[in-house]
């Protein structure tokens, strides 16, 4: 009892007794989550504005006579004539390791029922992206655990790689697989006690999604044990557009804390199409001039300033990184839409997912022709680079030839061989959801494919054979994989061991 009164006494003692000065205004109009406020002559752009009943807003439109404030909470308690006051603070969110394993809203308040987040650090949601000097080129791989991605479209730490495709083509699955793989690698690294190991912490930002989808994602992350390394920022479709607009910036601020403290982080923005729609809604209510597809003129800046905050910092600045995986949903496969082209031009490459491939059962439905990573093999370990160098070309040739060969009955031997190899590679890349594969196992499987070990197996059994080989390499023939994991290289003696392991497996598989 006395401790409670002591607590209150201390709080009273710490309170300032000086007169306060605040800048105030009056709500003159309130509609659709936006308040027009008269007064507030000293308000700053993006400053938090306090309304009655502890409702917060952000000053987004500074006009001659009025200020347009986007309300972040429940607007039903506000009315015309209510007082609004400046806070002198930019919108900030709590940051730190304490956020791992938690689900927060767009302003960093916990919504997972696990109690308060005990962190005393805050970062403003809007920050200037790192300049040229503190940056370093991307050269460390970020393994997604998805063979089709890691081999053909490698992603590096600090890169921005767009995941783009129509609805229900597996965009979120790729992002979640990547998060699960980071958690697996983190656990493995922590268990190994390697002092040089750098964990990758993840932030998943859900914008404008159904609550059921977010709940499903959280469940998957919990079941796979990845949740301990993930912070989820949720601004579902039921949330007001202001929260949906802010959520990616809040998530980015949380990620920047890791980057600036010399750690590696991965952030998934799921998805930026809905983010642009939320921003369009706010802009139209604020009566900003609209442009193409009714989006405001600064919709490019909306995404560029967000994605530019992802970077790889050099050693003098802590060597941290923030990798971004923004997601964009296209309509009928149209990558030439306004928002898709904007984000394509901002990012360092894209993973394009095709509905046709998805429906054919080729999952992940990665389109080889339209997908690219501008970082390229710089973000691959040497062993993988050695075995995966030609695979993208082979697969692209296969897709090209397959289209033409449909009308040809008599094909020459070279074409037949290419088609045969391509069909096998396609089967090899088929991979179930939430089942990422370690890079050393991927390297070994790819090596076996390049060295014709799958050539005698019928195409319709390749997927089964690949799964069997993966299992064999993870349980019995672990030595070559362990060597690849330790050195990151595929030396001659490792190759010999791998050869004998694959031969052993093939005997059992046959």
């Amino acid at each position: 009892m006395s401790s409670i009164t002591d607590l209150i006494r201390k709080e009273i003692e710490s309170l300032s007794t000086d007169p306060t000065k605040t800048n105030v205004g009056t709500i003159t109009a309130l509609a659709d989550g936006v308040a027009k406020v008269e007064g507030l002559s000293k308000v700053m752009f993006n400053e938090m504005v306090e309304f009655p009943n502890d409702v917060l807003g952000i000053a987004l439109n500074l006009e001659e006579d009025t200020v347009g404030c986007v309300i972040l909470g429940d607007t039903s308690s506000l009315k015309e004539g209510d007082e609004a006051r400046t806070t002198g603070k930019l919108l900030s969110v709590p940051v730190g390791m304490e956020l791992l394993g938690r689900v927060v809203d767009a302003v960093g308040r916990p919504i997972d029922g696990k109690g308060q987040i005990n962190t005393d650090q805050e970062f403003p949601v809007e920050r200037i992206a790192p300049g040229i000097i503190p940056r370093k080129s991307v050269d460390q791989p970020l393994q997604t655990g998805i063979m089709a991605v890691d081999s053909m479209i490698p992603i590096g730490r600090g890169q921005r790689e767009l995941i783009i495709g129509d609805r229900s083509t597996g965009k979120t699955t790729i992002a979640i697989d990547t998060i699960i793989n980071q958690a697996k690698i983190n656990k493995q690294g922590e268990e190994s006690g390697d002092p040089d190991f750098r964990a990758v912490y993840c932030i998943y930002v859900a914008v404008g999604q159904k609550n059921s989808n977010v709940a499903r994602t959280i469940k998957v992350l919990e079941e796979t044990g990845a949740i301990d390394y993930v912070t989820i920022v949720s601004a579902p479709a039921a949330d007001n557009p202001a929260n949906q607009y802010l959520a990616p910036y809040a998530g980015c601020a949380i990620g920047e804390w890791f980057m600036e403290n010399g750690k590696d982080a991965l952030i998934v923005y799921d998805d930026l199409s809905k983010h642009a729609v939320a921003y369009r809604q706010i802009s139209l209510i604020l009566k900003r001039p609209s442009g193409r597809e009714a989006y405001p003129g600064d919709v490019f800046y909306l995404h560029s300033r967000l994605l530019e905050r992802s970077a790889r910092l050099n050693k003098d600045n802590g060597n941290g990184s923030l990798t971004a995986l923004p997601i964009i949903e296209t309509q009928m496969g149209d990558v030439a839409g306004y928002i898709p082209t904007n984000v394509i031009s901002i990012t360092d490459g894209q993973i394009f997912l095709e509905t046709d491939l998805f429906n054919k059962g080729i999952r992940p439905a990665v389109s080889v022709g339209l997908s690219v990573s501008r970082v390229g093999s710089a973000a691959q370990i040497k062993a993988y680079k050695k075995v995966a160098g030609k695979v993208k070309l082979e697969l692209a040739q296969f897709r090209e030839l397959a289209a033409f060969s449909q009308f040809e009955s008599d094909l020459d031997a070279t074409t037949k061989a290419r088609l045969d190899r391509g069909a096998r590679i396609v089967e090899m890349f088929k991979q179930g959801a939430y089942n990422p594969v370690p890079v050393e196992v991927q390297t070994a499987v790819m090596w076996a494919m390049q060295n014709d070990f799958f050539d005698t197996i019928p195409v319709n059994q390749i997927a089964e054979a690949v799964e069997s080989l993966k299992e064999y390499l993870s349980t019995q023939g672990t030595e070559p994989c362990n060597e690849i994991y330790a050195s990151g290289k595929l030396e001659e003696d490792t190759e010999q061991k791998l050869k004998s392991a694959v031969e052993d497996w093939k005997r059992t598989f046959a």
């Binding site: 309170l15 007794t17 306060t20 605040t22 003159t28 502890d54």
Partner: protein
């Protein structure tokens, strides 16, 4: 009817006509403007009146300040604050004093958009925020 730039300009002109030599809003002048508008209403009468009201509402805090004290017994505080405001803002500044018992003790002074407050009510509010 939406407010046009022209309406805004006219409303600003009306406001300037409402001021006395010392820059204060003169009630008699306002009444005469309203009377003449009523006699010969312009096409955008309602919009013009609204804009005139907004302009006046925005202008008033720049020439007068509001002082709130909890009770009439705080005359000394009012006097000191009035003297300080006049010294800093010029003698043209008029002070509109009123009583607000919810303050409990202290004062609340509004100069333009700025509010200076030192009251028990405000301290209790700060305590509530820090404990919530």
């Amino acid at each position: 009817m939406a407010t046009t730039t022209k309406t805004k300009k006219v409303a600003k002109k009306l406001l300037s006509l409402s001021l006395d030599e010392e820059g204060r809003v003169d009630e008699a002048k306002v009444r005469s403007i309203l009377d003449s508008l009523r006699e010969d209403p312009p096409s955008n009468h309602r919009a013009l009146l609204r804009e005139y009201q907004s302009e006046t509402r925005r202008y008033l805090p720049t020439v007068q300040c509001g002082l709130e004290v909890p009770d009439a017994g705080q005359g000394e505080v009012s006097q000191i604050l009035t003297g300080k405001v006049n010294a800093s803002q010029g003698s043209n500044f008029s002070i509109d004093s009123s009583q607000n018992p919810s303050l409990i003790a202290g004062y609340k002074l509004r100069v333009g958009d700025d509010v200076y407050e030192d009251s028990i009510d405000q301290r209790l509010e700060n305590l509530r925020k820090s404990l919530s």
